[in-house]
C-alpha cells in the first residue's frame, strides 16, 4: 500500500512516499537525507508521541498541574492514556519532574509534572 506523509525532522518538510505492507516499509522515496528514512520507518512501524496534558488537583494552589510522559508512547494509545489521566486527582504538592502517575498503562513510562505546585 502506498502511503504519503510529511517528514518533520527539519523545516524542509519533505513529502515522503512509502510503499508499505502490513506495517513494514518496502520502499521509501522523497527524502533528502537519512533522517527522512528513519522517520518514515518509525512512523509506519510504530509511531510514538510525547503526551502533554493536565491533571486536576484537590486542595492545592493551582487547579491543574501540567504533565507529560517522560518518554514517547505509542500514538495509538494516546486517547486511552487521556481517559485514565482525566480520572486522576493530584492531592499532594509536587516539584517539576516528579512522578504524578507511575508506569502509565503499564507502558514503562511515567507521567511527570512540568510545573511545581504547592
Amino acid at each position: 500500500m502506498l502511503r504519503k506523509m510529511t517528514c518533520i525532522e527539519c523545516p524542509k518538510g519533505c513529502q515522503l512516499e512509502i510503499n508499505e505492507e502490513g506495517g513494514r516499509v518496502i520502499s521509501l522515496t522523497g527524502n533528502q537525507c537519512e533522517k527522512g528514512l528513519a522517520y518514515g520507518r518509525q512512523e509506519i512501524e510504530s509511531p510514538m508521541r510525547i503526551l502533554t496534558t493536565t491533571v486536576l488537583t484537590e486542595g492545592l494552589d493551582l487547579k491543574l498541574v501540567p504533565v507529560r510522559t517522560d518518554k514517547p508512547i505509542p500514538k495509538a494509545r494516546l486517547l486511552e492514556a487521556m481517559a485514565l489521566i482525566s480520572g486522576a486527582r493530584l492531592t499532594h504538592p509536587v516539584a517539576v519532574g516528579e512522578v504524578v502517575i507511575k508506569d502509565l498503562l503499564c507502558l514503562g513510562v511515567d507521567l511527570i509534572a512540568t510545573r511545581s505546585v504547592q
Binding site: M5, T6, I8, P11, G13, R49, I50, L51, T52, T53, T54, L56, L62, K63, L64, P66, R68, K75, L78, L79, M82, S86, V96, T114, R115, S116
Partner: protein, 292 residues
C-alpha cells in the same frame, strides 16, 4: 526574566521585576506542549518547564525583587511609572526600564467575518488558558479559523480532551504553522485542513450553531455545524504604555533609558529567540546605566 538576569549578570544590582499575574512565566505557563528550549537549553521542554528554569534563576538572584499581581497603569516620557499592587499604588522612576509586555491576540472583529454575534467565539490563546489553566472546556464541536501554531495546538488539545474538531480553515494557500504541528496536531487525528478557504459566515442566535465555509477560488460553499469557533489569526505587540509615554512609533520608542524585548518588540515563533534577544536588552540597559 531573561532581561532581568542579563542586566544582573552585567553588574546591575537594584532590579525590580513587575508581573501582572500571580506567577512568573507569563504565557509559557499555559503552553503545556513540548518544543521549547531546543536551542537555549539543548533539550525539548514544555512551556512551564522552560519558565521554571528561569524562575529558579530569578529566585537565586537575591537583588532581583519580584512584585506579583502588579499592574502598571501609567508611564511618562521620563520613565515615571505608576503601578497597582495588592494593598496599594506605587510610583517610582527607575533609571532604566525594560518593557516585556508581550502580545494581544487579534480577534474576530479584526478579520471581518459576517454573521451574528453569539456566544462561543474565542481567541485560541484565551481558549488555551481556559483549558490548560482553568480546567474549563469551552465547547464540544469546534471549528478553528486560521492555521497558526496556537490554532493547530489547540485543535489537538481539544481533541485529546474529548471535543470534536470539525476543521481548521486557512485563508492562505499554505499553513502558517510549523510543519511539525500540522502533522502532529491535525494529521495524527484526521482533522481536515481547508487551505485557501475562509469562514464567510457565523450562524447562531444565543450560541454558535454552524459556520459557512467558502472556497476562495471557486466560491463554492459548505456548512459545518459546531458550538464553538476558535480564532487563531495572529498577534499584535502590546505597547499601550509606550504610546502613553508619548512615543509615536512603539517599535522604535526613542525614549532615553527605555528598552523593549520579547513579543512586545516583535512577534516571535521560538521562545529561545525571545530569550536571546531579551538578554541583549538586559545587557543594553546595563550598558546605558554605566554611561548615564
Amino acid at each position: 526574566m531573561a532581561a532581568a538576569l542579563a542586566a544582573y549578570q552585567a553588574g546591575v544590582k537594584d532590579i525590580l521585576l513587575i508581573e501582572r499575574d500571580q506567577y512568573l512565566g507569563g504565557i509559557l505557563n499555559q503552553c503545556i506542549h513540548p518544543g521549547f528550549g531546543l536551542h537555549h537549553f539543548k533539550t525539548d521542554l514544555t512551556g512551564p518547564e522552560y519558565a521554571d528554569r528561569f524562575i529558579k534563576q530569578v529566585a537565586a538572584a537575591q537583588e532581583i525583587e519580584v512584585s506579583l499581581r502588579s499592574f502598571v497603569v501609567r508611564l511618562t516620557a521620563d520613565r515615571e511609572l505608576t503601578y497597582l499592587k495588592p494593598g496599594g499604588m506605587v510610583t517610582l522612576q527607575p533609571r532604566a526600564l525594560i518593557m516585556a509586555t508581550g502580545c494581544r491576540e487579534r480577534t474576530r472583529e479584526m478579520i471581518h467575518i459576517a454573521g451574528t454575534r453569539p456566544a462561543g467565539i474565542f481567541p485560541a490563546g484565551l481558549a488555551q488558558k481556559m483549558v490548560n489553566i482553568e480546567g474549563w472546556l469551552p465547547g464540544k464541536e469546534i471549528v478553528v479559523i486560521g492555521s497558526g501554531d496556537i490554532g493547530l495546538i489547540m485543535a489537538r488539545r481539544f481533541t485529546l480532551e474529548g471535543a470534536r474538531v470539525k476543521a481548521v480553515v486557512e485563508i492562505q494557500k499554505e499553513s502558517r504553522g510549523l510543519v511539525r504541528n500540522v502533522v502532529q496536531c491535525l494529521e495524527d487525528f484526521q482533522i481536515p485542513l481547508y487551505l485557501n478557504h475562509r469562514v464567510a459566515l457565523i450562524h447562531g442566535r444565543d450560541r454558535v450553531e454552524k459556520v459557512t465555509v467558502e472556497n476562495n477560488e471557486t466560491k463554492e460553499t459548505f456548512e459545518l455545524t459546531c458550538d464553538t469557533v476558535l480564532v487563531s489569526v495572529g498577534l499584535i505587540p502590546e505597547n499601550e504604555l509606550i504610546e502613553q509615554a508619548g512615543s509615536p512609533d512603539p517599535a522604535k520608542p526613542n525614549l532615553p533609558g527605555l528598552f523593549v524585548c520579547g513579543n512586545s518588540l516583535k512577534v516571535y515563533d521560538l521562545v529561545d529567540n525571545v530569550t536571546r534577544d531579551s538578554q541583549k536588552a538586559g545587557e543594553a540597559a546595563a550598558e546605558y546605566l554605566k554611561n548615564a
